[in-house]
């Protein structure tokens, strides 16, 4: 087949791709975006299927049967988790204007420039072999097609680069990518045209593969080919005709690897996360992407069988079956279609991958270095042009590195294993990304340590062996280990043998990675910025994602922020962005924006879209003065969950307190009601007690008044009653007031040393007349030594008088045979002095002995009423208890009642 035809066709195809992109961009400018469609989004994810899929699947199937499926099984399974995982990533990226996987990881761990740079280096080194693979595929397919109708494998290229197809392909793709990908600066302005082109490319490669699959399968099922093959009993067909599941650990490792790669490869992050225009599109991708993977693998096994049948000698590389079979069958149109399909798969991957990588290189690698230099010298005015130039340079360099790798190492391995090596490198991001989305404890140092450890192990177990195979290193090193130390052999680390190389490398690199990440992260608590970012990432799917409490405090000038943004975005876009933001905040002009945390955050996010989060943070910090916010504050401000927890805790506590208070109130209320009832009773009793003497007084007053002719004796008698009832009345009133005073604590107490003997004597003299009238004999027993207590003398006399009056009341009177007797005794009782007054009256029944001390509860055993008010004993009890003693009633040894009180003996101060 003529070279020019193929070349013209290739260019025509690339031109078509470009036209699609241009058309989509125009539609986007007109506001009728084609990309804002879930199917387009899902198709663009199929950039996952590269030339490696297109050619390599058949190769892997021919070699190992169903093993090739794992690379598609992993992504299919992980798509099930997109509802959480990818949704979180999309939301975070939107909120933080994240534009690459490096940006994502750097942002998560405190916007660390160092981490962003490291991720970039890992990504570039890890993905370069993968790009080399695409170059190899395009150049091989081109060379094979050139030989049509002869089927011949290309010889190892030993031509100078300018004559090497792969080199030319690399340059062409670089040019094409630069055209596609570096027209805007703000990478967060999505590449609509690019996405449309990728979606188109996905349709092309799928169509090519399906058409080839149908044609070749029909041929295989045609006259006798299949039967022939089976009859030939070719051992190479065994794995395909009697499929075996590969060893579990390999199967698991490859699935895991592919599952991680489909999320973490720079180009996959670009199409899945950065280019996502609507998170609902994920829902279609959830089933459409796995379906695409299924379709593109549908004919892999038949084609592999057909290839093995058609080329029984094994001199044709199985990776090329899909192309060499149409050549063998003399189907030039199909060969061309397959070539275009392969070209499509390769270009799609290369374009998106290099755009993503170049953004990372410029934002996370070169810009931080420049920023460091510009700290001393002033930066150029138009930074935007600089950045574009850097990105273009990066695209070219990455493709040339890819070519270099292809020239140096690409011959040694088939396509599939090159791809898997890249996958393992990219899988090193998994702990940082997935850990960062679900675990708050990761720190910058932890991420750096994990990534470094994983990457070093990757280089040692996977990259070095490739170099050794390519003759750069002595092969003996692989088996025996460095310096003959078997344990450190790159292919059997620590004596681990029997696993395939990729599984082995994946296991050890991830083990080192996760171990270091967790260990180093556990060394310290996340700092303020890390905690803030952790919250944004981990809680992305809670409270609607984008809502962020900006964690910033300091001073800033709007003019400075704007001029900073102008350097990168140009005056127009800056003005438009700030004006839009001002409108959203309800401010008339951008210049009037408050220089607060939200505005600074806006400026930083705006810049992030152009130069990545970490650099944006540094740039914004250079024009603002930020105050350090302490960790305590951060925890207080940030941990919303904590806050809510604390809040509900507080609520719970308060409602408990409320319940307790209610219970207390209820109890207090009951007590109040009880007190109120008692008060009512008391009032009623007092009224009753007042009315009784009043009744007598009124009656006799009226009698005396109405009956002036009353006999003198009668008159004298009645007046005596009047006097005594009046006395009773005033006594009652005094006692009620007294009691109220003592009970309310308002009484005056003139406490002093009181000698009990003296007070007893005084009380006896006060009651002398009463006792004598009733014919009562008083006996007194008391020690000679003065019994001193600390008390109010008058009140103590009052108590004794009450007790004596009480005794006089109940002691028998008027019966000459049984004379009333009252005995007063004073004696020591432990540390107290005890005074008892005993009568020989009826005594108090046991159940009434406490009642007598209650107000108006005179013993029912009667007695001479006018003598008592019913308040004497209650008042006595109040007084004695106030003085620290106690008073009680008991039965007298023989007959009668005995009322006693104890008072603490007063120790006289040592002389």
């Amino acid at each position: 087949m003529s070279g020019p035809l193929i070349i013209v066709l290739s260019f025509a195809y690339l031109g078509l791709l470009f036209a699609v992109a241009w058309w989509a961009d125009r539609r986007a400018d007109q506001g009728r975006s084609v990309v804002a469609h879930p199917t387009v989004y899902a198709l663009s994810l199929a950039v996952y299927c590269t030339a490696w899929t297109f050619y390599g699947s058949v190769g892997r199937a021919a070699e190992s049967g169903l093993g090739f499926l794992t690379i598609y099984l992993g992504p299919t399974l992980i798509a099930l988790l997109w509802g959480s995982l990818a949704l979180k990533m999309v939301r975070v990226a939107k909120a933080e204007r994240i534009i690459s996987i490096a940006d994502f990881i750097a942002s998560r761990y405190g916007k660390s420039q160092l981490l962003g740079g490291l991720v970039t280096i890992v990504a570039v080194i890890g993905v370069i072999p993968y790009i080399a693979l695409q170059l190899k595929a395009v150049s091989w397919s081109f060379t094979i097609l050139l030989d049509y109708p002869v089927v011949r494998m290309p010889s190892a290229a030993d031509v100078p680069p300018w004559a090497d197809t792969a080199f030319i392909v690399a340059l062409l793709l670089a040019a094409f990518t630069i055209l596609f990908g570096t027209r805007h600066l703000d990478a967060s302005q999505r590449y609509e045209g690019l996405v449309a082109a990728i979606a188109f490319e996905s349709i092309v490669k799928l169509t090519a593969f399906l058409v080839a699959g149908v044609v070749l399968t029909l041929w295989l099922l045609g006259p006798a080919h299949f039967e022939l093959a089976i009859a030939a009993d070719d051992p190479r067909l065994q794995p395909l005709l009697q499929p075996r599941v590969p060893p579990f650990q390999d199967w698991f490792a490859t699935s895991l690897l592919a599952a991680l790669a489909v999320m973490l490869l720079p180009r996959q992050f670009q199409v899945t996360v950065v280019e996502n225009s609507d998170e609902r599109h994920l829902r279609r991708a959830l089933w459409l992407f796995p379906l695409y993977l299924l379709l593109i693998n549908l004919f892999v096994v038949p084609i592999a069988i057909a290839g093995l049948v058609a080329f029984p000698n094994g001199d044709v590389d199985a990776d090329t079956f899909i192309l060499t079979l149409p050549i063998l069958l003399q189907l030039p149109w199909l060969a061309l279609l397959v070539f275009i399909g392969g070209l499509s798969a390769a270009t799609g991957m290369v374009i998106v991958e290099t755009i993503a990588l170049s953004t990372m290189v410029s934002n996370d690698l070169v810009l931080p270095l420049l920023l460091r230099r510009w700290r001393r010298r002033s930066p150029p005015a138009d930074l935007g042009r600089w950045l574009l130039a850097i990105r273009r340079g990066a695209i070219l360099i990455i493709l040339l590195l890819g070519y270099g790798y292809y020239r140096l190492a690409g011959e040694a391995y088939e396509l599939v294993s090159i791809g898997l090596v890249s996958f393992v490198a990219v899988a090193q991001f998994a702990p940082m990304v997935i850990g960062g989305l679900y675990w708050r404890g990761g720190t910058r140092e932890g991420a750096l340590a994990g990534l470094t450890a994983g990457f070093l192990v990757w280089m040692y177990t996977l990259l070095l062996p490739y170099f050794a195979m390519s003759g750069w290193l002595p092969p003996a090193f692989m088996e025996a280990g460095p310096g003959g130390v078997q344990l450190l052999a790159p292919l059997a680390l620590f004596g681990f043998e029997g696993w395939n190389q990729v599984t082995h490398g994946l296991f050890w690199s991830l083990a080192a990675n996760i171990g270091s990440f967790l260990l180093i992260s556990s060394l310290r608590e996340p700092n303020a910025v890390e905690a803030a970012q952790a919250r944004i990432f981990v809680d992305a799917t809670r409270h609607g994602g984008a809502g962020k409490a900006p964690l910033w405090r300091g001073s800033a000038e709007i003019a400075e922020l704007m001029s900073l943004a102008e350097r990168f975005l140009g005056p127009e876009r800056t003005a438009a962005a700030f004006a839009d933001y001002a409108r959203r905040r309800g401010v008339a002009r951008a210049q009037l924006l408050p220089p607060d945390a939200a505005t600074v955050y806006f400026a930083e996010t705006l810049l992030s879209g152009a130069i990545g989060g970490a650099s944006a943070r540094v740039m914004v910090a250079s024009v603002t003065e930020e105050e350090i916010i302490g960790m305590d504050e951060v925890l207080n401000i940030l941990d919303e969950a904590n806050e809510i927890r604390a809040y509900s805790h507080e609520l719970e506590r308060k409602s408990q307190a409320l319940e307790a208070a209610t219970a207390e109130l209820r109890a207090a209320n009951l007590q109040l009601q009880e007190l109120d009832r008692l008060k009512d009773d008391f009032m009623s009793s007092v009224t009753h007690e007042l009315r009784t003497p009043l009744a007598s007084i009124r009656a006799f007053s009226e009698i005396l008044h109405d009956d002036p002719d009353l006999a003198v004796e009668q008159r004298q008698r009645f007046i005596a009653i009047l006097v005594s009832e009046t006395e009773r009345l005033s006594r009652l009133v005094n006692q009620v007031l007294d009691l109220a005073k003592i009970e309310s604590g308002h009484a005056d107490w003139r406490n002093e040393v009181v000698i009990l003997q003296e007070t007893i004597a005084q009380a006896l003299s006060t009651t002398e007349q009463l006792l004598r009238e009733r014919g009562i004999v008083v006996t007194l027993e008391q020690p000679a030594t003065p019994a001193a207590v600390w008390a109010d003398r008058d009140r103590l006399i009052q108590v004794l008088v009450n007790l004596l009056a009480n005794a006089a009341k109940f002691a028998p009177a008027g019966d000459p045979e049984v004379p009333g007797q009252v005995r007063v005794s004073l004696a020591a009782a432990g540390a107290d002095w005890r005074v008892c007054v005993t009568d020989n009256g009826p005594g108090i029944p046991e159940h009434e002995r406490e009642l007598v001390f209650e107000k108006f509860r005179q013993s029912a055993s009667g007695g001479n009423k006018p003598l008592g008010t019913g308040l004497g004993l209650p008042i006595s009890r109040q007084i004695i208890e106030h003085l620290g003693g106690r008073v009680w009633a008991e039965a007298a040894p023989e007959k009668g009642a005995r009322l006693c009180f104890d008072l603490p003996a007063h120790a006289p101060p040592p002389a």
Binding site: T687, A699, E702, I703, I721, S724, G862
Partner: protein
């Protein structure tokens, strides 16, 4: 024939005043100083009228009144209750139990005498 009046009250001075008032009005007066003693006297020889205190030891005025009204033999006995408990509830309770009149302490001597006279005149 002079009407007979029984005074049941535990306040000696009040009893003295009541006795003086009733005797001056021309009635025969008997005295009891608690409910039980009073009830014994009522049963022994039913009086025409009882001046009954409420608050008394042993058996209070309401108890005495109930016992009297439960005894059909004592149906003709008039009861005037006299108490220091001025509450309406008490008064109502007394009247419900069958007291013929209810007077609070302190009482007006003239009102009391007039009341007693009125109650006793109803019979004749």
């Amino acid at each position: 024939m002079n009407k007979r009046i029984l005074i049941i009250d535990d306040e000696p001075n009040i009893v003295i005043s009541l006795q003086f008032l009733m005797e001056r009005a021309g009635y025969l007066v008997e005295v009891a100083s608690d409910g039980e003693a009073g009830l014994d006297l009522v049963r022994a020889q039913p009086p025409d009228l009882i001046v009954l205190d409420v608050m008394m030891p042993k058996l209070d005025g309401f108890g005495v009144l109930e016992a009297i009204r439960a005894d059909s033999a004592l149906a003709g006995v008039r009861v005037l209750m006299l108490t220091a408990k001025g509450r309406e509830a008490e008064q109502r309770k007394g009247l419900e139990l069958g007291a013929d009149a209810y007077m609070p302490k302190p009482f007006s001597t003239r009102d009391l005498v007039a009341r007693v006279k009125a109650l006793l005149d109803e019979d004749t």
